[in-house]
């Protein structure tokens, strides 16, 4: 077994998964100006929807993934319409949206538990057996996750930087009042951003369900790692989310092997040092979320 190679491969998979999630979270934080703690639940939702579509409805896995993405996006859009649209415009919007996202997280978590029960789920047999290359075991599920992670990252960059939607997002983020003067509907932009980000979270959950299994609390642990990555890379920097994700992924992989569970403490110490030197993260500019 090629241990360093195996650790690097596993770290790359984990890192890209977290990059995918962190990109969505960065979008919400920098454009909607919401610290969206409920984000991890959409990861869980995507996993459960894909499980139900494959096991309950007998649909092909690829179709189930698409449905999972759409379902997560729709719930995200609905949450903006019903909860955040009004709160974003109120006085003390940061605290209000933070508490609302916490409440949403609790409600969705419990709803998932009630609907799907306590038994953990899994999707066995979705992918063929693992390959072994240069002493490194590479499961097709993880290779797929790498490919899609890279693709999603590229697509997100193109959408935000090169499209009209992306320009509208950036204008609405920096100058919402000016945006409306230019005919940009800020509410529509925020809603679309939330839908896009939650759809990406659902996609990550759907892709990783066959590898890591499905349980009602899976999103709650993921959200904290995502927040760590955002702090490392910068809360408002997409490129920073990529860097942060890849760095933390490798740290956790090599660290778990050589140091053990205490790696979590080591990661926090490293993040503390980074933030001490660069308070906005490695590549962040410092987003004003209106505290």
């Amino acid at each position: 077994m090629n241990i360093p190679g195996q650790l690097f491969f596993d770290g790359l998979v984990g890192g890209l998964v977290y990059v995918t999630l962190a990109l969505g979270m960065v979008l919400i934080t920098s454009i909607n100006r919401i610290l969206f703690l409920a984000y991890g639940v959409f990861y869980t939702l995507g996993a459960y929807v894909v499980w139900y579509c494959v096991k309950g409805l007998g649909l092909p896995y690829a179709v189930a993934v698409i449905i999972a993405v759409v379902a997560a996006a729709l719930v995200g859009v609905a949450s903006h319409l019903l909860i955040f649209q009004r709160l974003q415009r109120s006085k003390g919007a940061f605290l209000g949206t933070l508490i609302a996202s916490l409440g949403l997280m609790l409600v969705l978590n419990q709803t998932i538990l009630l609907i799907f029960g306590t038994v953990p789920r899994g999707l066995e047999g979705v992918f063929p057996d693992a390959l072994k290359v240069w002493g490194i075991t590479m499961s097709p599920a993880k290779l797929t996750a790498i490919g899609i992670g890279i693709a999603i990252t590229a697509v997100m960059f193109v959408v935000v930087m090169k499209t009209r939607l992306g320009r509208a997002m950036r204008v609405a983020s920096f100058m919402p009042e000016i945006a409306s003067l230019h005919g940009i509907n800020s509410n529509w932009v925020y809603r679309t951003t939330l839908g896009l980000a939650t759809g990406v979270a659902g996609l990550a959950g759907a892709l990783l369900a066959p590898t890591y299994g499905i349980s009602s609390g899976m999103g709650n642990t993921v959200i904290w790692t995502v927040l760590l990555m955002m702090m490392v890379g910068g809360m408002d920097s997409m490129f920073g989310a990529v860097v942060g994700g890849l760095v933390v992924g490798q740290l956790l992989s090599f660290g778990q092997y050589y140091v053990g569970a205490v790696i979590q403490i080591v990661v926090f110490v490293i993040i503390g040092i980074i933030l001490y030197i660069k308070p906005n993260g490695l590549l962040g500019r410092g987003v004003d979320i209106g505290i």
Binding site: M1, I3, Q6, L7, D10, V13, G14, V17, N109, Q110, L113, G117, T118, V119, P120, R121, G122, E124, G125, A130, K132, T137, S139, L208, Y212, G213, I214, S215, S216, G217, M218, N220, T221, V222, L252, S253, F254, G255, Q256, Y257, G260, A261, Q264
Partner: protein, 449 residues
């Protein structure tokens, strides 16, 4: 300030609202539902009291006597965390077991029928939440028996002992095992699970020596590691690797790499949540591991196979409750399983400790011929043996010179997976279970003077 008519009207309305509120609070004695913190729910397994017939009182054991008196309500409280699968399962299995008893005509104690009424509050996985729930049960609802899923158990033990309330709880908190406890009993039988498998492996595979252990990096994981490492070594095995990983971590690739590097013959995964043990099995199997997987947790075959390919389980052993097999291995297990399937549509392999606790209480009350906590506690603490959906249990205490109180030991079955179904591979009788427990676990789990 001059009062305006509008102001006076508002004051009158406010006064009327307050009067109604005070009247409602004063009149509401035993409320059946509440939304005040902690989130509370009352699950009443009892039906409306009816005239009894000659039907058996319950499916566990004990004499059946007919009586024409209306059944009395027997309140049993639950303090569980509804935010994790174990807590939900404890509540749900207790409810189903209570229904089995009630549907059979109720629990006959000393000639009086009792219908079990469950009152459940959420511990919220905090000491404060657990204390609030317990106080509510004891002082507002008048409950004398409480079941707990290990959340907040340290605080609950203190309240139970101080107020003479019987507490049946899970977990490994030291407070559960204090020799001063009179009313607190860790009665779910889980302390016997690892010695059962260790002893069976040592007896059945005497040449298998190298074991790799993996635990979650939390209090329960470290306590389990400490006890089980010593148990494995006492049983004659060499522990070649002990890995800890953060609780809730789903990517266990690095852990699997470390385990494989140690070249074990047996891998013993111990996740805190229901998912993590299976995740370790899957991750290690994907690395090409071909040795044995041994587990000491209550993972059903159905749950395991949703996560792990069957090929990984060619060399797998775990303990199994009576209820897991088809057909179940005892009448009480069969009755419980049938009731569970009727309620949920399918057998989902829940953690059945809630049902075990209800069985313990029912048997103890019938043997004591009383529902008074002192009498029931004396029976439980006196070496009670009872049948539950999990299997046969015996309450056992420290030998002379020991410093710990009664724990429940379960007579486990050993299972393997064949054709996607659990198959009984062996069984450990209660007497042998006691031997293994005293030999492998008790010296390491409980402080000796």
């Amino acid at each position: 300030m001059k009062r305006t008519p509008k102001c006076v009207c508002l004051l009158v309305i406010l006064g009327m609202v307050m009067a109604v509120a005070v009247a409602a609070v004063g009149c509401g004695s035993e409320s059946t539902t509440t939304t005040a913190a902690p989130a509370a729910s009352i699950t009443t397994a009892a039906t409306a009291p009816t005239e009894t017939t000659a039907a058996p009182t319950e499916t566990t054991e004990g004499p059946t006597e007919t009586t024409t008196a209306a059944p009395e309500a027997l309140k049993v409280g639950l303090v569980v965390w509804k935010g994790w699968a174990v807590g939900v399962d404890v509540a749900n299995t207790a409810e189903v077991m209570a229904k089995v008893v009630n549907d059979a005509g109720g629990l006959d104690v000393g000639g009086t029928k009792h219908m079990i009424e469950l009152i459940s509050y959420d511990s919220e996985n905090t000491q404060d939440g657990a204390v609030l729930a317990m106080n509510r049960l004891v002082f507002e609802d008048g409950v004398k028996y409480v079941l707990n899923d290990s959340t907040g158990v340290e605080a609950l033990t203190a309240i139970a002992e101080e107020n003479g309330v019987i507490l049946l709880a899970m977990g490994v908190a030291p407070a559960l095992f204090s020799p001063d406890n009179r009313y607190t009993f860790p009665a779910d039988g889980s302390y016997a699970s690892s010695p059962a498998i260790l002893g069976w492996l040592a007896d059945t595979f005497p040449d298998m020596k190298r074991v790799a252990l993996a635990y979650t990096d939390d209090q329960m994981g470290h306590m389990s590691a400490q006890v089980q490492t010593a148990s494995w070594q006492t049983a004659g095995f060499e522990v070649v690797s002990t890995e800890f990983f953060p609780a809730g971590q789903t990517d266990l690739s690095a852990v699997a790499t470390k385990v494989m590097a140690a070249d074990p013959e047996v891998v013993w995964p111990c996740g805190s949540g229901p998912t993590l043990s299976e995740s370790i099995v899957k991750a290690v199997f994907e690395r090409g591991y071909e040795g044995m997987f041994a587990m000491g947790n209550a993972t059903s075959a159905a749950t395991l196979l949703t996560m792990v390919p069957e090929a990984a389980l060619a060399n797998y052993v775990n303990y199994a409750y009576d209820v897991e097999f088809d057909p179940a291995l005892s009448p009480v297990a069969e009755a419980f399983k049938a009731a569970w399937v009727e309620k949920n549509g399918e057998w989902t392999g829940p953690e059945v400790s809630g049902a075990t606790f209800v069985s313990c209480l029912c048997t103890a009350m019938q043997e004591a011929a009383s529902i008074e906590p002192d009498a029931v506690a004396a029976v439980i603490g006196g070496g009670l043996e009872f049948q539950s959906p999990a299997g046969a249990l015996r309450m056992t205490s420290a030998t002379e010179g020991g410093t710990w109180t009664n724990v429940g030991l379960l007579a486990y079955n050993v299972k393997k997976i064949e054709g996607g179904q659990p198959v009984q591979q062996g069984a450990i009788a209660l007497d042998r279970m006691s031997e293994l427990f005293y030999q492998l676990v008790a010296p390491n789990l409980f402080p000796q003077p």
